[in-house]
């Protein structure tokens, strides 16, 4: 462990539901250095990585995808992670979501060291605390939209009737109420991604992790998806971490994180970033 002070006075247990917050404008955040929580605010660090490293070993070739990432993400934040292809965005996403194990460093989710969790605890974490959205949607092909949305609820122990009602609410939220009985192959990419968002929200997670949610979508549907994400962030206070190449993300996020070659290249609040036409400053790709 580092000498970083572990927060006290917080619930040892994560609250079941997220508290509604209004965090359109982040409070004074010294960027780019990792920021301590703003004093007095209801914000706390929900994801913290310390010297996070990941090396993929294939035969004798070692690819260092992450080379020591220190990050802190607060509740209610919308963070966009950008960087050239192969820079390690997806790898970061997987580490933070507990979907893969790092080769060095630590990941804390709500002050809990993910590496210390048992399989059951990890499943609990994935089920209730985090929602995942993938570039390839990863819907279960043989289930209808509604079944896809209610499957994680079943894992959380929600009764079928309640799951159905809540599933329909979520589908309504993403504008697919009328299509609840459709299978993934019967839907467009944008619709599938919206179902995936509804599914990710099934157990009211605190964190939504998105890996290029608009990567497979055209401009218009991509915008729809981004707007839903922003809405969730604003209205429900869900922390959103979004790896992306999509420049429109800049309009929505609170903070931006650039990764290059497995290191943080830059960390900035949105208002610090100037957008020039067709080019975002500081990103030279």
């Amino acid at each position: 462990m580092t000498g970083r002070k572990t927060q006290t006075g917080l619930n040892r247990i994560m609250p079941e539901t997220t508290s509604p917050t209004t965090l359109t404008e982040p409070a004074a955040l010294p960027a780019p250095a990792p920021a301590p929580p703003a004093a007095g605010a209801a914000r706390r660090v929900i994801i913290r990585t310390l010297n996070l490293r990941k090396a993929y070993v294939k035969g004798t070739v070692v690819t260092e995808a992450l080379r020591g990432l220190d990050t802190e993400i607060h509740t209610g934040e919308f963070i966009a992670i950008m960087g050239p292809s192969g820079s390690g965005k997806s790898t970061y996403f997987n580490m933070v979501g507990g979907l893969d194990s790092p080769t060095g460093g630590r990941v804390f989710i709500d002050e809990v060291d993910v590496a210390q969790l048992t399989a059951v605890e990890l499943a609990f974490l994935r089920c209730r605390k985090i929602g995942y959205i993938f570039q390839q949607f990863n819907l279960i092909q043989y289930q209808t939209a509604l079944e896809n949305v209610t499957t994680p609820m079943a894992f959380a122990g929600t009764g079928p009737d309640e799951a159905r009602v809540r599933g329909m609410e979520l589908l309504e939220l993403v504008g697919l109420k009328e299509r609840w009985f459709h299978r993934p192959i019967e839907m467009s990419g944008g619709q599938q991604q919206r179902v995936a968002i509804a599914r990710a929200m099934a157990n009211r997670p605190m964190i939504l992790l998105c890996d290029e949610p608009t990567g497979n979508l055209d401009l218009k549907t991509g915008r729809e998806v981004l707007e839903i994400l922003r809405q969730l962030n604003l209205e429900r206070g869900v922390t959103i971490i979004c790896a992306t190449h999509d420049p429109r993300m800049l309009d929505m996020c609170d903070r931006l994180m650039w990764i290059r070659d497995g290191r943080i290249e830059r960390l900035a609040r949105r208002d610090e970033v100037t957008i020039s036409i067709g080019k975002i400053n500081n990103e030279s790709e």
Binding site: T6, R12, I13, M14, N94, G97, L99, D100, S101, D110, E111, V112, D113, Q116, L117, A119, V120, E121, A123, F124, L125, R126, C127, R128, Y132, N138, L139, I140, Q141, Y142, Q143, E147, T151, P152, A154, F155, A156, G157, P160, R183, R199, A202, N203
Partner: protein
């Protein structure tokens, strides 16, 4: 350090899990059907071999029994003529439990106590199995094992000091040869053989003495002819002479058979006469010199030919007493049946006396094991293919918070369902093919000796094997995938 407050994940109800599984199967209908078909083919193959194995065994046993039944009159004729050997007596003693009165008769003839008879019979049973074993082991091997001897003589040879040890060593050296019983039991059999043999000789002698008494009642007939009248005083005379197993019920059967045999002989003789021979040639549509018993009886199985023969014989005034077209047809059919049983006996010789799985003999057991292996490879391949292409789904489920146990449950259920469906279809198909082939081989005999019990057991075993193999082959890779971190599972493709 913070901890996470984990509520135990509720177990999904079985109904829900089954529903999810069925949804999956239905969605991947084509894939599932192919997997199921592979399982079905594998199980069918196994079932086919098992069906043939159990049929061989059942038909073989029925053939032995039926052959004995059909030779009832012949055996009694031989017994009453005073021809008999130790082997025949051995066989009779071994079969004594099935027939009322025979045990008592043997006990009396052998001068045994009633209490000693079961042990005596057990020994004789084993001795008989041993002689059958010697018959089947093949000439070259038999020479090595017991020299030029066979049957009772071989046993006598082995009972000499030191011979059995040599014999046992030779058997061991042959490896593939299996004795009908354990070494100790065999050693015991040969050691006590002189005593057993003495008893058998005594039974033989007593029988011959009784046969001499019966000879007084023959009134110039041969025993075979006299037995046709066994329902009357002759039968009683036989029983009175000491053959207490010659019960009235048995007398009726023997008499009927003897009667049939006599009639058959009469007809065969008649047909050899020149004029009838010519007529027969006309009926049978062959050259007169080709008329013989075989073609005669083959033709007589048809009603038209039998009726024609009776008509001609009546014209010639040489119709034997009691001969009708129906009866002649019956004789012909019986003869055919007898030939069929003999053929079956020859075909099944190897499988009847073997031990092995389900009692189908070592050779068939080997075949079954090989087909089980083929079955295993086929099913494993099919299941592996259908599971490995679903690693992404496993990873997704894990992202949604599924426990490894639930995923296992899903795949176990699916494999079991596919295994069951494939097993049922395959079991049925294998039975149809297997018994179809057997019906082709044994004809009507199959239905007479149909092995219902063994068939059901093998069906159950084949289906179980299908399900088990599908479960193991389907669940093991999914277990490996479920244990991995989701992203690692997603990467395997």
């Amino acid at each position: 350090m913070k901890t996470i407050d984990v509520k135990p994940q509720p177990k999904l109800s079985l109904a829900r899990t089954v529903q999810v599984t069925l949804n999956g199967i239905r969605y991947r209908m084509f894939r599932s059907a192919v997997t199921m078909a592979v399982i079905a083919v594998a199980v069918a193959f196994l079932m086919n071999v098992m069906c043939e194995a159990v049929t061989f065994r059942a038909v073989g046993r029925a053939a032995i029994q039926r052959a004995a039944e059909l030779q009832l009159a012949d055996r009694w004729a031989a017994r009453l003529s005073g021809v008999g050997s130790l082997e025949v007596v051995l066989e009779d003693v071994a079969a004594a439990s099935g027939q009322p009165g025979l045990a008592e008769e043997m006990t009396r003839f052998g001068g045994l106590n009633a209490a000693d008879f079961p042990e005596f019979q057990r020994r004789c049973g084993l001795a008989r199995e041993f002689t059958v074993f010697l018959d089947q082991v093949g000439f070259a091997r038999r020479r090595v094992l017991v020299g030029e001897t066979a049957g009772a003589a071989a046993l006598a040879r082995l009972s000499r000091p030191g011979e059995f040890a040599k014999f046992a060593a030779a058997v061991k050296a042959m490896r593939t040869v299996r004795l009908p019983a354990a070494d100790e039991a065999m050693a015991d059999l040969t050691r006590t053989w002189p005593e057993t043999e003495a008893r058998l000789r005594r039974i033989l002698a007593e029988r011959n003495r009784a046969a001499v008494v019966v000879a007084g009642a023959l009134q110039g007939r041969t025993p075979a002819a006299a037995l046709a009248g066994a329902r009357g005083p002759f039968g009683a005379a036989v029983a009175d002479a000491g053959f207490s197993s010659f019960t009235p019920d048995l007398r009726a059967r023997v008499a009927a058979q003897a009667d049939d045999a006599l009639l058959a002989r009469r007809i065969e003789d008649l047909v050899q006469q020149p004029d009838l021979r010519k007529i027969m040639a006309g009926i049978l549509d062959v050259m007169p010199r080709d008329v013989n018993a075989r073609v005669l009886w083959e033709a007589m199985a048809g009603r038209a030919a039998a009726e024609k023969l009776v008509e001609r014989m009546r014209e010639k005034n040489c119709l034997p007493e009691g001969a009708t077209a129906a009866r002649i047809m019956g004789l012909a059919r019986l003869r055919q049946e007898q030939q069929d049983w003999n053929e079956a006996l020859r075909l099944t010789r190897e499988t009847v006396s073997g031990g092995g799985f389900l009692g189908i003999g070592p050779r068939m057991t080997w075949l079954v094991l090989v087909s089980l292996l083929v079955c295993a490879v086929g099913i494993t391949n099919a299941m592996l293919m259908s599971v490995t292409e679903r690693f992404r789904e496993i990873a997704t489920l894990k992202c949604l918070g599924a426990l490894d146990g639930f995923i296992m449950c899903l795949f176990l259920l699916e494999a079991a369902l596919l295994g069951l469906a494939g097993g049922l279809v395959g079991g049925l198909a294998g039975s149809v093919v297997g018994f179809g082939r057997m019906a082709f081989q044994f004809g009507g005999l199959l239905w007479v000796a149909f092995p219902v019990g063994p068939w059901l057991i093998s069906g159950l075993l084949a289906i179980l094997a299908g399900m088990l193999l599908a479960a193991v082959a389907g669940v093991y890779p999914s277990y490996l995938a479920a244990r991995l971190a989701p992203m690692e599972a997603m990467r395997i493709e």
